[in-house]
Symmetry: C2
Subunit: 338 residues, 2 copies
């Protein structure tokens, strides 16, 4: 049997367990040319909230009764395709299920000697590429500039700040607990971190950014964004990659007044990493050694078993995760800790 | 005597006549190397509201008891500078007064045979350059795209739409009366114009922009901006040059939710035309023949006499002007109608 989690109903506000249905489906058929694989890791990411809604967004919604979407790391268990062997480790987009089959064009083979395979959907996957494209291509950091990133201990934010340090910038995080802030500064090497739940944001930003903010990597929306606008430098850049604080809003949350953009000649640019696949080779070439050398660290928050995915996704919107949120759907064949 | 209008007090909300003081000052001294000139036209522009406030902005405020700032066209009446002759017509930044003197480095000589001299502070001056830089450099219009501009009958908006047509785009205006809308379509050649006071903005924008909005030239802020965000195309560009609807707000007017920027990968870029003086030669080279050939039209709304400036500026914030707002401080020596 192939256990799957399907979208049962669309949430109104915060998703709940009722929006999901756990189903034991038949194994997918394997036709000539196909590759059957077993999911090892499933990535849980904020964008999934958008796919649960019918509202127009940058990608089509998941249909009711369809398997929830998601990036995965898997192991090939049967191959009728000469390009794949049983035992191969692959990254794909198989969603919330134990098994998937396809012709393999949607798969990328992984080398478990290169890095733990879970990184293919984390620091060396979509979240890492999001940090890379947003910070470097839109943010265009210059040595000595100040970069602020929200959700700083998360999958994307943690990479943004460390990459900013690699580029010679001052990195300032914003996170939701003292523990996360400590981690961001002490483990990841950010210069400072602000606790948005307890700190008075504007004075805290001014103190942490004595030379103002040149780049704000926008991950969350809400009051952090509004505060940042008051501390911008001239010609500041704001790559806008997500607004997790607002994804579960049931009424229009509005936004900050944008006059600071005019006063400071600032730029905001929304982006979706999947538009920038041409940057993936450069991303992997630059990031892989940084990760291997430990200059860019990552932290994973792993829950075990597919059935844990719904509550883990809800926890992501509540800021309960600490690091990249992953589901270990089956044991890691490469022996990684995730 | 040199009649001047000085800033007497800072407005709270909409300026009133009480914020200004009319003073008959002595004539300015003319030292060796100086040029004395008499103001012909004074330009009234929305940015002046920012200069009346003490709040930090992109330029220093006018100090209390200082002459109000402003772009001017003047005629030289006395020159102790070999570069200028009495009778020369010049554009400068002499502010709200009848006479000014300086060493002339802040002056640009005008050729009255080239275009009516009032255009040097209008279609061929700062407002025209604002339209040019914002639309072309930030907006990057491509033939067939749709350009929407607010305050479409005004000094900047009217040029944005006509320049969009020159570049092969669909031009859609937003203005505050049926008469202004008629002018924008029938005289200026826009494809459509929406009356923001009477039309339901989102459906009206969808009807006027059947292929969506590629560029929104943001002049006003407020509800027009919020509506436009709902009709954006992928990779839309929003040059942000002003927010006149909000300049007199006495509490934070907030703003629209920015999630559409993410969904549509849109860009907002604030800009101040004075940062782009390197573009002035290209601007004049391209725009002067377009104006001379009548391919770009302009309309001036002229009040007579310096004393009329305060009420005319207030009218600008109330949308009472129809075209570029000018004060004729003294009769036009080139015989122009303004």
């Amino acid at each position: 049997m192939n256990r799957q989690i399907r979208l049962k109903s669309r949430p109104d506000g915060m998703p709940s367990a009722d929006n999901f249905e756990i189903v034991d489906a038949p194994m997918p058929p394997v036709s000539d040319g196909d590759v059957l694989r077993r999911t090892t890791y499933l990535s849980l990411d904020p964008y999934m909230r958008g796919r649960m809604s019918a509202a127009p967004s940058y990608a089509a919604p998941v249909n009711i009764n369809d398997v929830m979407c998601g990036h995965t790391v898997s192991q090939v268990v049967e191959s009728r395709n000469p390009g794949f062997q049983p035992g191969d480790l692959v990254a794909g987009y198989d969603g919330w299920q134990q098994y998937a089959a396809s012709n393999g064009k949607d798969l990328r083979k992984l080398d478990p000697a290169g890095a733990p395979i879970s990184t293919a959907i984390g620091v060396l996957g979509m979240p890492g590429a999001t940090a890379f494209v947003g910070l470097l291509d839109i943010g265009q950091p210059k040595p000595g500039e100040t970069v602020v990133v929200s959700a700083a201990s998360g999958a994307v934010g943690s990479i943004v700040g460390q990459l900013a340090k690699v580029k010679g910038c001052r990195a300032v995080g914003v996170a939701g607990s003292a523990e996360k802030c400590r981690y961001v500064v002490e483990e990841l090497g950010f210069d400072a971190c602000i606790n948005y739940k307890t700190d008075d944001l504007v004075p805290a930003l001014r103190a942490a950014c004595p030379q103002g903010i040149d780049i704000y990597f926008e991950n969350v929306g809400g009051k952090v964004f509004a505060a940042v606008l008051r501390v911008l430098n001239r010609n500041a850049r704001i790559p806008l990659c997500g607004m997790i604080a607002e994804y579960n809003a049931t009424s229009d949350p509005g936004g900050p007044n944008l006059r600071p953009l005019l006063v400071h000649r600032a730029l905001i640019k929304g982006f979706i990493v999947s538009d920038h696949n041409d940057r993936l080779p450069a991303f992997l070439k630059e990031m892989t050694p940084l990760v291997r050398e430990g200059r860019i660290k990552y932290r994973e928050d792993i829950v075990d078993g597919l059935d844990a995915a719904p509550s883990a996704l809800i926890g992501l919107f509540e800021g309960k995760n600490f690091g990249k949120m992953l589901v270990r759907v089956s044991s890691d064949p490469a022996g990684g800790q995730g």
